[in-house]
């Protein structure tokens, strides 16, 4: 890419020290080429917004503005978003120097971006909180400048909040939960939902009783025998979120569905892979243990 280099003319006159200082400043500023980052997934959107300066953000994922999926729907309002299903050109339009993708991005796309001289960071681990911290650190390292410091600050803040939550929930009786879905799969072990439950004083019955790993189809009839205390749903209205399950077997026959024993979380929480899941812990903990968490 074309870069503008500052040319420093040295003149054989007085005050060489001052000239040298200016030269060093200019050289220092010019040597660091401007970083422009395009983020392809919601998780990296959230992390990027935490550590990058606004001028470093070139574009965000197609879902960035959608409150159903993005924790940063409001904060990302001013930034452009990628087109769904675009090709390399639709990313290169934003003239990025760095692109953040997930391991499930098409290999052809990644290859074309690299051919065009763009640095591509691929994130393949995002299940646990530690993975989320790593994401922040990796992105911050790539950005350089003040970013690593911002990342450390965010991580430290998260750790403090998580510890605080642990203290508040000490000794609490875990609530048995399940998060149903209309597309035939529920999250079990090793998912972000599991992580959410662990940190919010809940037991994910899909993992503990159902021994489901990853996102898996629930065992239809057995589901009815699980002692679900509360359902965890995402959405803005309890009635609207519960409605589909009242009509969908096997959920329709579950006591918790019929009695409407459910907690409602902001919809993006259930799919959150970034450090913002800590907000999610608080949402869930507050909903399940109202007395304990303010």
């Amino acid at each position: 890419m074309e870069r503008v280099r500052a040319e420093v003319k040295s003149t054989p006159c007085a005050r060489p020290a001052r000239v040298l200082a200016i030269a060093l400043l200019l050289a220092g500023g010019a040597a660091a080429a401007p970083v422009r980052v395009v983020s392809q997934t919601v998780g990296t959107d959230e992390a990027l917004l935490a550590v990058a300066r606004p001028d470093e953000i070139a574009a965000l994922s197609p879902l960035a503005h959608d409150p159903e999926f993005s924790a940063v729907a409001k904060e990302s309002a001013g930034y452009p978003v990628l087109r769904v299903g675009g090709d390399a050109e639709s990313v290169l339009r934003f003239r990025p120097t760095v692109v953040l993708c997930a391991d499930y991005s098409r290999i052809e796309l990644v290859s074309q971006l690299r051919t065009a001289g763009v640095r591509v960071l691929v994130f393949d681990r995002y299940a646990t909180l530690a993975d989320a911290y790593d994401m922040l650190r990796r992105i911050a390292a790539e950005l350089g400048g003040g970013a690593p410091a911002r990342a450390s600050a965010v991580i430290a803040d998260c750790q403090r909040r998580v510890a605080a939550l642990q203290r508040r929930l000490a000794g609490v009786k875990p609530v048995r939960v399940l998060t149903p879905s209309t597309y035939g799969l529920v999250p079990g072990e090793g998912t972000t939902f599991e992580d959410l439950c662990e940190h919010a004083g809940a037991i994910n019955l899909a993992a503990s009783l159902g021994h489901l790993r990853g996102n898996a189809p629930p065992p239809g009839e057995q589901l009815l025998t699980w002692p679900v205390d509360k359902l965890v749903l995402g959405g803005s209205s309890m009635a609207a979120s519960l409605a589909p399950f009242r009509a969908l077997p096997p959920y329709a026959y579950m006591a918790s569905v019929r009695e409407g024993r459910a907690v409602l979380l902001p919809p993006w929480v259930l799919g959150c892979v970034s450090y913002r899941r800590v907000d999610g812990y608080y949402f869930l903990a507050r909903a399940l243990h109202p007395g304990r968490v303010p």
Binding site: M1, E2, R83, V84, G85, G86, D87, A88, E89, S90, L92, R93, A102, D103, Y104, S105, R106, I107, E108, L109, S111, Q112, T115, A116, G117, Y183, G184, L185, G214, N215, A216
Partner: protein, 327 residues
């Protein structure tokens, strides 16, 4: 062939060639980066490294792959139609595209696809080849037309089941699933020079096919008749089957299954230029290339509609029109 229709066929070939060149130029000028023609030109001549990257690494490979895929599918369709003596035969009749689909879906499901740029196309090609071998094996003992068609039907069904299974089974990894669906619709996004390399057998197969036009004429009017007129029918049929497989497999490997090209293009060209395969072969190659390139351009202009859907949207109405004509 009377000289009048010979001239017309030649004129058609020149016309198709000119159209192809125009479409290739348009393809180089179109893209999300909105480069004006002057910048595209600068890139083509490598005067500017950024424009050169866009033109040479992103747009040109895509254009070349479109040309190769279009030529391959159309020629393959023509071969199938002569082979089966039926103008409604298509390249996928014997399960080649289904095999390619199954291979690709397997590669995505098991994660091989993300290992290297070669994995997915090679898996698709392997699937396609395996499918054809299976068809020929099923139809052993005199591989007559009927037996081949039945075997093809059986294999299409089985391979469809395999593909469907993996689509269902792996819905938990949503994005892998999305990748599978995306691939199954056919598409030319982000084709690289690696894909062009993988598609090179198309050129070899087309060159081999070129002189077979005359014997194909005879074969298309009857196997036994052709044999008695001096055509080595067994050898010719083996060659045609092999060439059609290579063409379809290579095309499917680099672009996913794209339907209707092998059906529509030879059909239209036959209506315009007559059934002589000596004329139809080069016409199919050029015409098919132009057709797929035009569909790819349309897909880009409509905002990323998958190529397979664009060809289907053209295919459906075409056959409805044919129906009305027949009446």
């Amino acid at each position: 062939m009377s000289s009048g229709s010979k001239d017309r066929a030649d004129g058609l070939l020149w016309g198709a060639g000119a159209l192809l060149v125009l479409l290739m130029a348009a393809s180089l000028c179109l893209g999300d980066l909105r480069l004006p023609p002057s910048q595209v030109w600068a890139g083509l001549l490598r005067r500017d490294s950024w424009f050169a990257t866009v033109v040479w690494e992103i747009r040109l490979p895509r254009t070349v792959v479109a040309v190769l895929v279009g030529a391959a599918l159309s020629a393959s369709g023509l071969v199938m139609q002569a082979f089966f003596r039926n103008s409604l035969a298509s390249p996928g009749l014997l399960g080649v595209s289904s095999g390619g689909a199954a291979g690709a879906v397997l590669a995505i499901a098991f994660g091989w696809a993300s290992l290297s740029l070669w994995s997915l196309p090679l898996a698709a090609a392997a699937g396609a080849a395996a499918a054809t071998l299976a068809v020929v094996a099923f139809a052993r003992r005199g591989a007559t037309t009927d037996r081949l068609i039945l075997a093809g039907l059986a294999l299409n069904a089985l391979l469809g089941a395999v593909t469907g299974y993996f689509l269902c089974r792996h819905t938990d990894v949503f994005d892998r699933n999305a990748q599978m669906v995306f691939w199954l619709m056919g598409g030319l996004e982000d084709r690289t020079w690696t894909h062009v390399l993988i598609a090179l057998p198309i050129v070899l197969a087309a060159a081999w096919l070129w002189p077979l036009g005359r014997p194909m004429d005879l074969l298309s009017l009857g196997q036994a008749e052709a044999q008695s007129l001096g055509v080595d029918v067994r050898r010719l049929r083996r060659q045609l089957l092999l060439l059609s497989t290579v063409l379809t497999a290579a095309a499917t490997a680099v672009s996913g299954p794209v339907g209707f090209v092998g059906l529509i293009v030879p059909h239209i060209l036959r209506l315009l230029a007559g059934p002589a395969h000596r004329r139809l072969l080069p016409l199919s190659l050029v015409g098919g290339a132009a057709f797929v390139l035009a569909c790819d351009l349309a897909s880009r202009l409509i905002g990323g509609l998958p190529l397979g859907i664009v060809t289907a949207l053209i295919g459906g109405p075409y056959f409805l029109w044919l129906l009305r004509r027949e009446r």
